[in-house]
């Protein structure tokens, strides 16, 4: 070390341990962070699932007294918030973390410590969000937190403060993760992998990351405004002082609609990997799928007011947003036709992952069609706030996002763990989920058309809603049984240890070219990419001419620059991985995460607690910035 370099006193040595709790706290390995995301969000998934089942028990018969209105409000608020922010988003993040470096042939993400920070901030934010359950003061203003209902006048107590502070902390995690994956995908691709040779999942991750980076700050603004209204008595949503509650709806949905695509695009990416693999042909119309994703990501910003058709924005605004909403169905339809085109005349293997992906197409199409129905303001006026809307978004979020994620879990589980999941249990899991899901949400279309409002804790006997509600409740428990089978399958896989080879499915993308599970440095040698689905064509060179008909295309492919910067080139031969530099472990992401969490707790309890967070925050920042990514050896 030179004498004039800045150093920061180390209060502890760099983490070295690979195992145990300290090994996990100090980790910066994208695979382990992905695992942490996966486990944490799966636990939240179970909790939110129990919340849903409680709701279904309450609604299974008319004038039920199983739970009261207060608790019911907390249940539906936290079910929605948890499923959106603590389940679907972080489960997608688990896939991003695990797969992006593997799919683009990199050894880690661009900023490994920032990646660890994202996870810790997410964990603490989720705990703060749910802390209300312990104090009996859980958030109760809906996942959309409409002001002024979420304001302090109508909602005294800490409930919505947990919600808003939790969301803002989660926002920090999402933005950090989004930034990280943008840079990783733009900058860390293997030699020869140009943008249009990237796997579709990588493309969808890039678009999702851009949406995260641009949409989450808007939620932060909404959160800050609500928070200052609640705590410091400002007037953002106070109509008595000239504030406007509709302002909240605009800001929230300006975030909220891109958020919808943040939830669904990763699942679309997963499906776009699974379908070609098990049809044994390339994705039909790759550029169309990619551009449809880009168009969705762009147009998603111009449709938010379709959540507000009944607010009274006037015919001009309603018409404009109705048109943009109908238009955004076009790129979505393009994708659906491309997936069907991929299946067409393919050599189809019907295993669990494939079944989930095909079900995704069907269920998502149903949800998409009811979405197009809402796009028309007169129709929407009838459906607003009814169970029809509930049915719609559960078809896109469960039938879409969640089925896609399950497909991904069955597809990549061998890569993640090195063991297969059991196929028979898997198919039973799929069947139960599909039956339960359709039984639960199918009848809700009729309930909604019949006028049953959302967010009511009970309904009168003479409304004729009992049969459908009972069916929905039974469906909910069948769906839960399906999830239980999945848990059994995970345990079975762990006990049985049916070893998976590196490439169990005859895969197409780079992650299948390394061992299962991958070594800590991902690839022994950085892959050189020449084609889209490069790994497939390396295995099956005889099919190249089938898909690259044009001689001219081939020439361009041949001429593609393949600069080599193997590890060997810079190899100083240290780090114990045969000359491969891996980022050293670090505790600072965890410390900084704790600092941010204490800020959050301070907003909830006492301003002086915020002051207590400051030294920890500064310690984390300084320690982080002065700690070299790699210690000189």
């Amino acid at each position: 070390m030179t004498t004039n370099a800045l150093t920061f006193p180390r209060f502890f040595p760099r983490p070295q341990s690979e195992t145990g709790i300290w090994g996990w706290i100090g980790t910066v390995d994208h695979k382990r962070i992905g695992t942490l995301y996966g486990i944490t969000s799966f636990l939240w998934f179970l909790i939110a699932g129990v919340e849903a089942l409680l709701i279904r028990v309450q609604l299974s018969s008319a004038e039920n007294t199983f739970i009261g209105p207060e608790f019911y409000n907390q249940l539906f608020t936290m079910h929605g918030t948890t499923m959106v922010f603590l389940v679907i988003m972080p489960l997608s993040a688990a896939f991003f973390n695990w797969l992006i470096p593997l799919q683009i042939g990199a050894r880690d993400v661009a900023f490994p410590r920032l990646n660890a920070l994202s996870y810790w901030v997410f964990l603490f934010g989720s705990l703060i969000m749910n802390a209300g359950w312990l104090t009996g003061d859980a958030p109760n203003g809906g996942w959309f937190g409409y002001a002024p209902n979420s304001g302090v006048t109508f909602n005294p107590g800490l409930g919505m403060t947990y919600w808003v502070v939790g969301l803002n902390i989660l926002g920090v995690a999402s933005i950090a993760a989004g930034l990280n994956f943008i840079v990783t995908i733009m900058n860390m691709r293997a030699p020869g992998m140009s943008m249009f040779k990237m796997p579709v999942f990588t493309w969808m991750t890039l678009i999702t990351s851009v949406l995260l980076v641009l949409a989450m700050p808007i939620l932060a603004v909404a959160g800050i405004q609500l928070q200052t209204d609640r705590v410091y008595g400002t007037h953002f949503f106070n109509s008595l002082a000239g504030g406007d509650p509709v302002m909240w709806q605009h800001i929230f949905w300006l975030f909220g609609h891109p958020e919808v695509y943040i939830l669904i695009l990763p699942a679309m990416g997963i499906v776009s990997e699974v379908l070609p693999t098990f049809s044994r042909k390339p994705l039909f119309g790759y550029p169309f799928v990619v551009f449809a994703g880009i168009v969705i990501g762009f147009m998603g910003w111009f449709v938010w007011s379709h959540h507000m058709f009944t607010v009274g924005l006037g015919p001009a605004a309603n018409t404009a947003f109705a048109m943009s909403t109908m238009l955004i169905a076009v790129p979505t339809g393009v994708k659906i036709f491309n997936w069907i085109g991929t299946l067409w005349r393919g050599n189809i293997q019907l295993n669990t992952a494939m079944l989930f992906s095909i079900s995704f197409i069907a269920m998502f199409t149903i949800g998409g069609l009811s979405g197009v129905m809402h796009a028309s303001p007169p129709t929407d006026s009838q459906q607003q706030d009814t169970y029809f809307v509930v049915a719609h978004f559960h078809y896109v979020l469960v039938g879409g996002a969640l089925l896609g994620i399950f497909s991904g879990i069955y597809f990549w589980w061998p890569k993640f763990t090195g063991w297969f999941l059991n196929e028979k249990l898997g198919i039973a899991n799929w069947a139960l989920m599909m039956i339960g899901f359709n039984l639960q949400f199918g009848p809700q279309h009729w309930l909604g058309m019949d006028g049953m409002p959302r967010r009511i804790y009970t309904y009168a006997e003479n409304m004729g809603w009992e049969g459908s509600n009972l069916a929905a409740s039974i469906g909910g428990f069948i769906l839960g049984l399906g999830i239980l089978l999945f848990i059994i399958n995970m345990i079975y896989s762990r006990m049985n240890k049916k070893v998976a080879p590196a490439d169990p499915w005859d895969g197409r993308t780079l992650e299948w070219s390394t061992s299962s599970p991958p070594p800590v440095h991902d690839f022994d040698e950085v892959p050189q990419v020449k084609y889209r689905d490069d790994f497939w064509f390396k295995k099956h060179p005889e099919t190249i001419s089938e898909y690259y008909h044009n001689e001219h295309d081939l020439e361009i492919e041949e001429a593609a620059p393949a600069p080599s910067h193997d590890a060997e080139e810079h190899g100083d031969d240290h780090g114990g991985h045969g000359g491969i530099h891996l980022p050293d472990k670090s505790y600072y992401p965890f410390i900084l995460g704790v600092g941010i969490a204490i800020f959050g707790i301070g907003f909830l309890t006492n301003t002086y607690v915020i002051a207590a967070g400051v030294p920890i925050f500064i310690w984390g920042m300084l320690g982080w910035s002065m700690e070299p990514v790699n210690d000189p050896t």
Binding site: M1, T2, N4, A5, L6, A110, F111, I175, G178, L179, N180, I182, V183, M186, N187, M188, R189, M193, V213, L214, A215, M216, P217, I218, A220, V221, A222, I224, Q225, T228, Y232, G233, T234, H235, F236, A241, G242, G243, D244, M247, I251, L254, P563, H565, H570, P632
Partner: protein
């Protein structure tokens, strides 16, 4: 000099797919995120402009000449930033340090102006709780002030590094990235100055609603 000391100065050329440095790309993407953050607050201000039901109203409190001076100070800090980066890249340690310090001082002066302005407004009876103008004004300019504060701390840290010899021409990128942030915060202020001060300066109280008599 030991072998380790020699390799310390050898920074390997980073190869990225786009040719852009990772951290620089991160900063650009972050600034995109921050645009949305400020954009939502500025939009809120514009939507709520002229919606206050009680005073003080903008024309009664805003002081354009003084804010013009503070705006000029902030703009000059960007100039200092450019010069600082130039000299650090040239390897002129003392000039570089001096100009980074100039950024710190000018930024701090701007913060001082804001502090005095806030106190003056409070004295005139305008707080975030008074009316919708106070709410939107203080939160928007306060958030901007927080950005300036972070920038000043960051620059102070870099001035210390430069003086120490830890910030040199070969890692001038550290300063360049901080500079991106600093210029961005400066540009945001130009928008805020236009929207809050220049456009709203004549937003007078309705007749009979004057709260402050000069």
């Amino acid at each position: 000099m030991t072998q380790a000391a020699i390799t310390e100065h050898h920074t390997p050329v980073e190869e990225t797919s786009t040719g852009l440095n990772n951290r620089k790309l991160l900063m650009w993407a972050f600034l995109g995120s921050d645009v949305m953050f400020f954009g939502a607050f500025i939009a809120t201000y514009l939507v709520y402009r002229g919606k206050s039901l009680v005073g003080p109203y903008p024309s009664e409190v805003l002081n354009i000449p003084i804010t013009t001076v503070s705006t000029f100070v902030l703009l000059m800090s960007s100039l200092a930033m450019v010069l600082a980066l130039h000299y650090v890249k040239e390897g002129e340690k003392n000039k570089g340090t001096l100009w980074i310090l100039a950024v710190v001082v000018l930024g701090a002066i701007f913060m001082g102006f804001q502090f005095v302005e806030f106190r003056e407004f409070a004295h005139l009876g305008l707080t975030p709780r008074t009316n919708i103008f106070g709410t939107t004004f203080f939160i928007l300019t306060g958030i901007h002030g927080a950005h300036v504060t972070i920038g000043v701390i960051w620059m102070a840290f870099l001035a210390y590094s430069s003086n120490n010899g830890a910030l040199r021409s070969d890692n001038a990128l550290d300063l360049e990235i901080a500079g991106l942030y600093w210029h961005f915060v400066d540009i945001v202020w130009i928008v805020i100055f236009t929207v809050i001060y220049l456009i709203s300066a004549n937003d007078a109280p309705p007749p009979g609603m004057e709260t402050i008599t000069h």
